[in-house]
């Protein structure tokens, strides 16, 4: 326990010491004065280790009744010190300013760069990952026919799996000639319809591109297809009637489920960072057999369990599997000689997890306060 008397003496000693230091600075040559003032300022008023800060540190050692008086003493000294230092800093600055000097602290004329859309950033990142792995990147038509979107993907009419994706249809179909020629020009056998079909729907997944590509090219295949897809989903926190997908397809001799797992784990780590927990889990899709989904550890809770991950600790990011033999038969590939894997991932989903976006609708409002946070 210190007494007020002792500490008042301490304040006086500090004041005397500062006067001495100030006199030294005034005596310094003009060229060195600015640096000396700077050093003195840091030494006395520095927030972490300035002498005045240290002085104030004695406060708790006083009886509660004396604290106020001591605080006032120190603060009075502090304002005297600061005033003396500011006066000298201004004087020093005035003497050393060269002719034609500008105030370098004024804002510059910064060229205003636009901001990237987060979906576009994810899309580019995915493209980069797969380009590195030797895939070609494709786009495709957004208005599709039933064959490419459903039938060839082992979802014939009346198949229960069609319920999984509620489809948006055109009021009046468009002639098939509007899309790149496929069925009519392919010489391979296959289960395809005799004549190209009219375009009737908005593609519900980028998987339609698998069929278009395989119809026109012999194996091996190694591609990703990216773009918007459409489903009759009402707008809510996690659904929009338009969203973006990335589709992958690899076909060749001896392609296995283990190849799929390796590829997807590598992608998940590239997207979400090395060491992200990832699991590969059985699932079902009509166009793959076996099928699998990939989960990453919940970004929000770190795997402990929270409402975002429905208390499971995991968040699903994509569906995948080994291409179903019926799909190969549809495009005229021989399932006895080639196998393949395919996967489909929602770009919005990845962006939501990556940046903790709680409402998918933010991606479509294009609010500059939102977009302004993405500038890569």
């Amino acid at each position: 326990m210190a007494t007020l008397e002792e500490l008042t003496r301490l304040v006086s000693e500090h004041e005397a010491a500062f006067a001495l230091a100030l006199a030294e600075v005034d005596a310094a040559p003009a060229t060195a004065r600015a640096a000396a003032i700077e050093a003195l300022t840091v030494g006395w008023t520095g927030r972490k280790s300035g002498r005045l800060t240290d002085l104030m540190g004695h406060l708790p050692s006083l009886p509660a009744a004396d604290r106020r008086a001591f605080g006032q003493l120190v603060n009075a000294l502090k304002s005297r010190v600061e005033q003396a230092l500011t006066e000298r800093a201004l004087a020093a600055a005035a003497t050393k300013r060269p002719a034609g000097a500008v105030d370098v602290t004024l804002p510059g004329r910064a060229p205003a760069l636009g901001h990237r859309h987060p979906l576009s950033l994810v899309r580019e990142e995915v493209q980069a990952i797969f380009t590195r792995l030797g895939y070609q990147v494709l786009e495709g038509p957004e208005i599709e026919d039933d064959w490419h979107n459903f039938e060839a993907l082992n979802m014939p009419d009346e198949h229960p799996a069609r319920d999984m994706q509620d489809t948006l249809y055109l009021a009046e179909p468009l002639p098939p000639s509007l899309q790149p020629p496929t069925a009519a020009t392919t010489t391979r056998p296959g289960r395809r319809p005799a004549a190209p079909q009219p375009l009737t729907l908005l593609r519900t997944h980028t998987s339609a591109m698998q069929i278009r590509h395989m119809e026109q090219h012999d194996p091996p295949v190694r591609l990703v297809a990216i773009g918007p897809v459409y489903r009759r989903d009402n707008l809510d926190l996690t659904h929009t009637p338009m969203f973006h997908q990335c589709e992958g397809l690899v076909v060749g001799h001896g392609i296995t489920l283990a190849h799929l797992k390796g590829t997807l784990l590598a992608m998940a780590e590239a997207l979400f960072g090395a060491g992200t927990p990832v699991r590969f889990r059985p699932s079902f899709f009509p166009y793959t057999e076996p099928s699998a989904e990939v989960d990453v550890g919940c970004i929000r809770c770190g795997g402990v369990g929270c409402p975002v991950c429905k208390h499971t600790g995991w968040l699903e990011i994509l569906g995948s599997g080994m291409v179903h033999p019926a799909v190969f038969e549809a495009v005229g590939y021989d399932p006895a000689t080639v196998t393949g894997f395919a996967f489909g991932m929602g770009i919005e989903r990845v962006a939501m997890l990556k940046w903790d976006v709680g409402d998918i609708r933010l991606f479509y409002e294009n609010d500059l306060r939102f977009l302004g946070q993405f500038s890569k």
């Binding site: 760069l113 636009g114 494709l138 468009l174 091996p220 009759r232 079902f284 076996p290 989904e293």
Partner: protein
């Protein structure tokens, strides 16, 4: 599918608690979607209550109708843990006991199937009943799985549906005309009032369960109200049948009626389960004291189920999975799931598929079973071999990326908007032809496919203007739709400051030339020189609107957004918004094909001369420029306006234009005289033909 943990334990002695069970099942194809404490209440008589009972909600995939039941999930659990599965036995005692089928005596009703293609099997049994509430443990189990308890008889049908996955129905025996059950297609114009009290029109492709007079139920979907079991009912007929999935699916969809029963029939119920389920229902009647089965069980099966047998080789298993699985493990896993595995050759089998697995139709389906229960976690993470150099990507991808970079550098932020818009919003942009309409849009807001990106982009500008943004620059690269096909467009919108506020000077608002300049920059990236001509469109202000062309082909528009359009998209009144749209596909087609070759740098200096002309202000700049260029020698490199002034010193109707002309020759330094002569000729052309005056 919700499952009660304690109900599951009737059939398999799970060593793990609910949470750990859910985690393990998730890795085997039954993803746990939710886990909640079970409602409190009684356990079945003779069964110890489970302390931390819970309701597990599993995401059952569309191919697994068998897992829409407690026993189906129990079978998977037994396989995962390698434990025996105890099915509700027909002879066992306790609450799991089923009636001894041979003990069921005399019937009192008939079954006739007129449509065996839609209903190949129909099992019926009559029972004397005392209708009342079910005991607490039955009510608790139903409620835990989301089914409302009604009366003991109805509860039994639901209990069997949830436990075994076989939908059942109970008719009031007294209300069946002639005590007959006829399974037939509906007659044209026939109607039925279903259990939910609604009168429904039936069509001739729908299957009904009828008595001698009228329809008493829609097969596999819902029973009829007339024959409903009531409190006064004393005798019932239980139905346990198999209906064709496609038929139930089509009927349920047409009627807009989805039930627990239709969901299971649509996906494919077990065609071998009908008698088992009936036995279980009759046993439950006795167990809960609701009645006694009376008479013989009727099993009409005009088309018996033929089990499917599939070939499987060990090489196929390991080749598709990419991991080793011992042959004994293949056999053990399949048998545990109920498949009959018979060796056919060394390392090859014939596998018979149980009735409850309609999804298993190919060897690949069997391999999935093996892979999933052996565990995907044992799969090594390997990479597919590269067989050949990858082909080039779609050329639009790098092209769009270049345009995106240019727009970002010009200060525009990237927008993504919906491809469908309101019909009225599309109308001004639809260029004569109506926009593509959707047959089943979500709402009028999303009724037509956008003929232009501008309506969506302008809406986004409006959103920002209403949210404290004074200066907005947005662009989008996306698809526009027309009856003629899909086109990749670049759209841009700009409102507010052209140059941001800065302490050194004044803020300037955006004008036409800010945006037409951006258009010029983008075109130049493609090696295309755009030309601008006045245009009238429905969405731009006349006089401040231009059609952009290159080599005579229209490639887009730029100009001031019409106030009516701005207003319709929610922009504050008086906002000045400039918009532009470019057809990137057409721009690409116009881009020079030849490989670029570097031009030799000029060896001789260029000569620059400025000239100021007073010209009628009705003349467009391009006319003055072109007239002068036409009169110039080939040494003219460029002529470009560098100043333009109208006001004090210019007579009314005229404008002062200053042009900078640059001359250069490849083989010599130009002399002053040469350049002076050229300038004279060019000025003479302007003064002579255009009525200009040199200042």
């Amino acid at each position: 599918m919700k499952i009660l943990y304690s109900w599951l334990r009737d059939f398999v002695d799970v060593p793990d608690g609910p949470a750990e069970l859910g985690r393990r099942m998730s890795l085997r194809g039954l993803a746990l979607e939710g886990l909640e404490p079970a409602p409190p209440g009684d356990a079945p008589p003779g069964v110890a209550a489970v302390a931390d009972d819970a309701v597990l909600d599993f995401d059952v995939t569309a191919n697994r109708p068998d897992c829409l039941s407690v026993v189906g999930i129990a079978r998977e659990v037994a396989a995962v843990y390698g434990l025996p599965l105890r099915l509700p036995g027909v002879d066992a005692t306790g609450h799991l006991r089923s009636a001894r089928l041979s003990a069921v005596a005399s019937d009192g009703f008939t079954v006739r199937i007129d449509a065996p293609d839609l209903c190949p099997r129909y099992v019926g049994a009559a029972a004397e009943v005392r209708v009342g509430p079910s005991p607490g443990w039955v009510q608790r189990r139903l409620a835990a799985l989301g089914v409302r308890p009604i009366t003991n008889v109805v509860d039994i049908t639901n209990y069997v549906l949830l436990e075994l996955g076989q939908p059942m129905h109970a008719f009031d025996h007294a209300r069946l005309a002639d005590q007959a059950i006829v399974v037939r297609r509906a007659a044209a114009g026939e109607r039925i009032t279903t259990l939910d009290g609604k009168s429904r029109a039936l069509t001739a492709d729908m299957l009904v369960i009828a008595d001698a007079a009228r329809a008493t139920g829609v097969g596999g979907v819902m029973g009829g109200a007339d024959s409903e079991v009531r409190e006064a009912t004393t005798r019932i007929v239980f139905e346990s049948a198999w209906f064709k999935p496609q038929s139930v699916r089509a009927t349920a969809r047409q009627l807009g009626l989805r039930t627990e029963a239709s969901t299971r029939f649509e996906r494919g119920a077990d065609p071998t389960a009908q008698a088992r389920a009936m036995a279980r229902a009759c046993a439950l009647l006795e167990i809960i004291g609701a009645g006694t089965a009376a008479g013989t069980l009727v099993d009409a099966e005009p088309r018996p189920h033929q089990p499917r047998t599939l070939p499987l080789t060990h090489a196929h298993v390991e080749g598709l999975l990419g991991m080793p699985v011992p042959t004994l493990e293949v056999e053990r896993l399949l048998e545990w799931l109920g498949f009959a595995v018979r060796p056919a050759a060394p390392l090859a089998w014939q596998v018979t598929v149980p009735g409850w697995r309609p999804d298993v139709a190919r060897p690949e389906d069997l391999i999935e079973e093996v892979g999933r229960h052996h565990g995907f976690e044992h799969l090594p993470a390997t990479f597919p071999p590269v067989f050949q150099a990858p082909a080039a990507s779609d050329a639009r991808i790098p092209r769009d990326a270049r345009v995106r970079r240019a727009m970002l550098a010009a200060g525009f932020s990237e927008a993504i908007t919906f491809a469908f818009i309101e019909e009225t919003a599309a109308a001004p942009f639809a260029a004569g032809a109506p926009a593509l309409r959707l047959a089943n849009p979500l709402s009028e807001t999303f009724a037509v496919m956008r003929p232009s990106l501008l309506p969506g982009l302008v809406t986004a500008v409006g959103h920002n203007r209403r949210h404290e943004q004074r200066d907005v620059q947005l662009f989008e690269i996306a698809t526009a739709f027309a009856a003629a096909g899909e086109r990749r467009m670049l759209a841009a919108a700009w409102t507010g400051a052209a140059a941001g506020d800065h302490w050194s000077g004044h803020r300037r608002d955006v004008d036409f030339f800010d945006l037409s300049g951006v258009v010029e920059t983008v075109c130049t990236m493609f090696g295309v020189t755009p030309s601008f001509a006045p245009v009238e469109t429905a969405w731009l202000v006349a006089g401040r609107a231009a059609r952009i062309a290159a080599d005579g082909d229209a490639i887009g528009t730029v100009g001031l957004l019409a106030p009516a359009v701005a207003d319709a998209h929610g922009l504050p009144r008086g906002d000045v918004v400039f918009v532009a749209e470019l057809d990137l596909d057409r721009l690409t087609a116009l881009a020079p094909r030849a490989a670029a070759r570097v031009e030799v740098l000029p060896r001789f200096p260029s000569a620059v001369r400025d000239v100021s002309l007073l010209v009628p202000d009705s003349l467009s700049a391009v006319t003055v420029r072109d007239t002068m260029r036409a009169a110039a020698p080939p040494t003219l490199v460029s002529v470009r306006e560098f100043d333009r002034y109208q006001g004090q010193g210019t007579p009314p109707g005229t404008v002062s234009v200053s042009l900078r002309c640059t001359f250069r020759a490849a083989d010599r330094t130009l002399t002053d005289e040469e350049v002076a002569t050229a300038m004279q000729r060019m000025v003479a052309a302007a003064t002579g033909t255009l009525g200009a005056q040199q200042r």
